[in-house]
């Protein structure tokens, strides 16, 4: 809606200009002695708020087991095609995960492509991929900027889990799939 901004005539002190400058100088003088508002970055780090969308990472469940089942939904949904997954069998030396169908053999996220949209986290049926609070990625080469599976788990760590989906599936299977 159009409206007319009222232009008030300048007061005498405004037209004299100098009193206004003095008022401004009082403000800047106050700021001169006020504490700094900046962080000295490499030494002081900002507090990351909850829900921050940082570097995507892979997480383990509280038992220390891999959650990703290599369904490749994140790979399909990823808009810049930053995720590349090579699916594979569950290794024989992990009997407690033998009932899980698949696991990723390799899991690469190219951080030069990633746009931090968080769609991978949203689409993951296993809650295995999370955008966590790491905000600083550096490297000297392109290869360094690709996070492989080991690096993704190192960054991700373990997150609390409320479902233990595969434990429930295993228990159900042992009780004759009565669900």
């Amino acid at each position: 809606m159009a409206y007319v901004v009222e232009r008030k005539p300048l007061t005498l002190s405004e037209r004299m200009y100098l009193p206004q400058i003095l008022a401004g100088m009082r403000v800047t003088l106050k700021h001169l002695f006020a504490p700094n508002v900046t962080l000295e970055y490499p030494e002081q780090r900002p507090a990351i708020p909850a829900g921050y969308r940082g570097v995507p990472t892979l997480v383990k469940d509280p038992h220390g087991r891999e959650k990703c089942v290599s369904c490749q939904l994140c790979e399909f949904v990823c808009p810049p095609k930053a995720i590349r997954i090579t699916p594979g069998e569950i290794p024989a030396d992990q009997p407690d995960r033998a009932h899980v169908e698949k696991g990723p053999q390799a899991f690469d996220i190219d951080m030069l492509r990633c746009i931090y949209c968080g769609l991978c986290q949203e689409v993951c049926p296993e809650e295995a991929i999370f955008l966590q609070n790491q905000y600083s990625m550096t490297g000297y080469t392109r290869a360094e900027m690709v996070n492989d599976k080991a690096r993704l788990y190192e960054l991700g760590g373990t997150l609390p889990d409320r479902h233990f989906k595969w434990d429930k599936k295993k228990a159900a299977a042992e009780h004759g799939n009565a669900h």
């Binding site: 800047t28 001169l32 006020a34 700094n36």
Partner: protein
């Protein structure tokens, strides 16, 4: 020591004085740039430069980190960078004048220092003797005449750069100088009207102006003169809010767009030297020079502290008082710079011609009549 100094050849004396001026002004320009960075940072709520430290100084326990926080070593880092970085000369410039411009900028900056008295001491006869490199009797005229030449370097730089932004910067610098030089000169006339009382010996010496301020400072009873002079000073030194010549928002870098490394550094030092001299002249004219307080002349302090017989101590004291005031004005320059946004160019012209000039003329007339009444020779 004084006998030894006087026994030296005059040329040698002049060379030593000249080197002393360069030795003071260059570090001063660098220090000012650092202070400017620090002051601007603090006013914007930042810590400012605080990283650089030479490794051998990092071992000094408390002082080292303190000086590092203060950013003192950035001074050396900046200076070193300025000297050693590549100095590109664009292919389209007029090389001779391009190289000449920064040098010409330095000449008035370093020359005017010589006629500004920076202290005084009492000789054996109890008379005040100024501490000045060249005690000219035309003091203020010399300052005005020579310091205005500084704008030639800006014009030359702008023209020799053969590019539109520097050219506009140079033109703006010259137009601005012409506009404000008038009101600046008119604003100091009342001071000299008062100093040159009828019957006395006529003088334009800055030393005599200070000597006449043993009582009330001129700034106190000629406030309009002081304000007009100060505003013109900002314009003459091309400081914000009047830095039309290098307004980076509209002119990239103004007259020094095409300059880099030490040639740019010379412009920088020249600007700070002009600030220093301008502040010095303002303090001498309106704020009592080396007189510590209004109605407290230096001689009074000397008698009170029993320093009359010690010219060296009194000289240092007077230099300290004078420098303290000058440094406050340097701070004021920075304070205003980080407070007030830049004027538009037409506003600068309007302020100069339509506000300050009539104000300066009215002020001159008022004080001319007032002083004529006050100093009426008793017949």
């Amino acid at each position: 020591m004084i006998e030894f100094w006087n026994s030296l050849h005059p040329v040698l004396q002049a060379v030593i004085k000249g080197l002393a001026v360069i030795g003071v002004m260059f570090p001063f320009g660098g220090a000012c740039s650092l202070v400017e960075r620090k002051v601007s940072a603090w006013m914007q709520g930042r810590p400012g430069p605080n990283r650089a430290i030479p490794f051998w100084f990092a071992w000094v326990p408390v002082v080292g980190p303190f000086l590092q926080r203060l950013g003192v070593f950035h001074l050396m880092a900046d200076g070193g960078k300025m000297f050693f970085k590549e100095d590109p000369v664009p292919g389209h410039v007029n090389k001779f004048y391009f190289y000449l411009a920064p040098v010409i900028g330095m000449i008035p900056a370093l020359t005017t220092v010589t006629v500004v008295p920076f202290g005084a001491y009492l000789d054996d006869a109890g008379r005040l003797v100024p501490l000045v490199l060249a005690n000219l009797d035309v003091g203020i005229l010399a300052v005005f005449a020579v310091s205005s030449l500084g704008v030639y370097s800006l014009i030359l730089a702008g023209w020799a750069s053969n590019s539109k932004y520097p050219f506009l910067g140079g033109i703006r610098a010259s137009a601005q100088l012409i506009s404000y030089e008038l009101s600046m000169t008119l604003s100091v006339l009342p001071v000299f009207l008062w100093v040159n009382a009828p019957g006395g010996q006529g003088t334009l010496s800055l030393f005599h102006v200070v000597a006449a301020q043993g009582g009330a400072w001129f700034g106190l009873w000629m406030p309009v003169s002081a304000i007009v002079f100060l505003v013109s000073l900002f314009a003459e030194t091309n400081r914000l809010p009047f830095d039309m010549a290098e307004g980076e928002a509209d002119l990239v870098g103004g007259f020094h767009t095409e300059y880099g490394s030490m040639k740019w550094g010379l412009f920088f030092v020249a600007e700070y030297s002009h600030m220093l001299i301008g502040s010095g002249v303002f303090v001498l004219l309106f704020l009592g020079g080396w007189n510590p307080l209004p109605w407290v002349p230096l001689a009074g302090v000397a008698a009170w502290l029993h320093l009359a017989g010690q010219p060296l101590l009194l000289g240092l004291l007077s230099i300290g008082i004078f420098l303290g005031k000058v440094l406050f004005f340097i701070f004021l320059f920075m304070w205003v710079r980080w407070t007030v946004p830049r004027f538009r160019y037409d506003q600068v012209m309007k302020l100069g011609w339509q506000k300050l000039l009539p104000l300066a003329i009215a002020n001159l007339l008022f004080y001319a009549i007032l002083i004529a009444f006050l100093q009426k020779p008793v017949s």
